[in-house]
């Protein structure tokens, strides 16, 4: 068995083990169904929800918001990171702010966003974007830091312009770091949007969880959470696999 197959198998076994353990704990009554239902029940409930099409609107709503946030976080974080990288003094001043930013409960600024953007989906998308953007920026800065100077010199030898250098040398070279940034931006966009929906929205998966939560409908709540968990882990795993492939091709022995 190849190493990557072994890793995949172990990962699967770990997941299966965790699910099985949870199932047993629930079935044995150690965990009350009033707090947590067995994974099999979650799956069954989720299948029902998906089959009935009840969740379709919420899925589209949330999926759209997450996609928009992700696109904005990456689309803005990348150029911002590139710009800030070119201005070392600005960067130095910004450095403590970027990491500190994550301590701020941004959803508190929802009223401010409503004031600026109106009462629609936009404030939530901005919240999701705002959560992912600094991570993307930090990753971009990191990546640009690690572009080997000799490649930049090579660009000059080939008489490339600034944009050409950026497009054909700097960004490809920093790609692994940009990748990490995208993964983080995805995670944060999911967290930002769904947590935002949980607190503020009247549609979307986050709202579905919140509605079920307030109504003590554990089956629905855990079913939707399972869906979110599955989507988040699945997307992440996909990105991870893609990244490993990319990295394996490029990894220096």
């Amino acid at each position: 068995m190849s190493r990557s197959a072994a890793v995949a198998a172990a990962r699967l076994a770990l997941l299966a083990g965790a699910v099985l353990a949870l199932e047993l704990l629930c079935r044995a009554g150690v965990i009350q169904p009033l707090t947590l239902i067995p994974p099999s029940a979650m799956a069954a409930a989720l299948a029902g929800l998906l089959w009935s099409g009840e969740l379709n609107a919420d899925l589209i709503h949330t999926g759209g918001a997450v996609a928009a946030s992700l696109a904005l976080a990456v689309g803005l974080g990348l150029p911002l990171g590139v710009a800030v990288h070119g201005l070392p003094r600005l960067r130095r001043a910004l450095d403590p702010l970027l990491a500190a930013y994550y301590a701020v409960p941004t959803f508190v600024f929802y009223p401010l966003l409503v004031a600026i953007l109106g009462l629609n989906q936009a404030p939530l998308i901005v919240l999701g974007t705002a959560f992912g953007l600094p991570a993307m920026m930090m990753a971009t800065l990191n990546g640009l830091d690690r572009v080997p100077p000799v490649l930049l010199r090579t660009a000059r030898v080939h008489r490339l312009g600034r944009l050409d250098t950026l497009a054909s040398i700097v960004l490809p070279s920093a790609a692994p770091f940009l990748f990490t940034g995208c993964k983080l931006a995805l995670a944060y966009a999911v967290i930002g949007i769904i947590a935002g929906e949980f607190i503020l929205a009247d549609a979307g998966l986050g709202h579905a969880i919140s509605f079920a939560y307030d109504g003590f409908e554990n089956r629905t709540m855990y079913a939707v959470m399972l869906l979110v968990l599955g989507l988040a882990t699945g997307l992440n795993l996909l990105l991870h696999l893609w990244e490993t492939r990319l990295m394996r091709r490029r990894a220096r022995a």
């Binding site: 010199r153 000059r156 080939h158 008489r159 050409d164 054909s168 490809p172 070279s173």
Partner: protein
């Protein structure tokens, strides 16, 4: 075929002018047209404690010659190459390439292979080699033709679709050399291009470089820290002093244009390396200021 090795060791004759030799007459190295000229060039790295890295240096690189530079570590060899390539500006002095001043931009017609591995890890070997041609907008058919030729020529044909990570260090160096050569530079600057290789392999690679040089007729400036490499490959060897580097000797080797690494077994070869070594021992002692200096 074992070429006749005819070492002609003597003081530098860099000011000897004369008519340009014909291609046929090249076997006997002699004065030719200037290709690049450095006049009283110095370079000081500014800072709280400015570092005088180089010079003053005068150098007249002749068209079609193979010129090697040796010198103690940190003496300014890479700095010299940077200046010549227009990657940085001299603090004083002037640099001419094909008659035009080099002013902080890399002039057209110049190719560089850096000391470090500069292959692009995200491109295949083929795309790496084609990089410069594509950027320059060369016709795709012509690009493909030249790249294919270079792949064969460099012994990389089987690895055209491989990524640099799948290559050994020496193969990566060859990719960088090929990437530079396909653009057909008229002046090739090489900064310890075989640094990643063991001594035996670097001599073999040297043979390849010689063949290339013969075939293209380009001017080559090779920086190396291996004295036998310098002695074997070049028409002239410039020996630099410790920092700030100046040329303290110019050794004309007098090898035939047709030569290869078997030169090293010649008795006369040892005479050239011994002279280089003798010139450098004291400079190295000054340069490292380490244990040798106190011994």
């Amino acid at each position: 075929m074992r070429p006749e090795a005819r070492p002609r060791v003597g003081p530098g004759t860099r000011e000897a002018p004369g008519p340009r030799g014909t291609a046929g007459a090249r076997d006997a190295p002699g004065p030719r047209e200037s290709h690049a000229v450095l006049s009283a060039v110095t370079r000081v790295y500014p800072g709280a404690r400015p570092v005088a890295a180089l010079g003053p240096v005068d150098l007249d690189l002749r068209a079609g010659e193979f010129f090697a530079v040796v010198g103690p570590s940190g003496c300014g060899k890479s700095t010299l190459l940077d200046l010549l390539a227009g990657l940085s500006r001299p603090t004083a002095g002037t640099i001419l390439f094909e008659g035009r001043p080099v002013d902080g931009a890399v002039p057209e017609g110049l190719g560089i292979v850096f000391q470090e591995d500069a292959s692009f890890p995200w491109l295949t070997v083929r795309d790496n080699i084609a990089f410069g041609l594509r950027r320059a907008g060369t016709d795709p058919a012509e690009t493909a033709r030249r790249v294919d030729y270079a792949l064969g020529f460099m012994g990389l044909a089987d690895f055209a679709a491989a990524y640099p990570a799948q290559l050994s260090g020496g193969m990566r160096q060859r990719v960088c050399i090929a990437r530079t050569l396909v653009t057909r530079p008229r002046l090739i600057l090489l900064d310890e291009p075989f640094g990643a290789l063991d001594q035996q392999t670097r001599l073999l690679m040297g043979d390849e470089l010689l063949r290339l040089w013969r075939e293209t007729g380009a001017t080559v400036l090779l920086i190396t820290h291996a004295l036998d490499e310098a002695a074997m490959l070049s028409d002239r060897v410039g020996v630099m002093s410790s920092r700030p580097g100046r040329f303290i000797d110019l050794v004309e080797t007098g090898w035939p244009r047709e030569r290869d690494s078997r030169l090293v077994a010649e008795a006369g070869f040892g005479t050239v390396t011994a002279r280089l070594w003798a010139r450098l021992r004291d400079e190295s002692l000054k340069a490292i200021g380490g244990p040798g200096a106190t011994a």
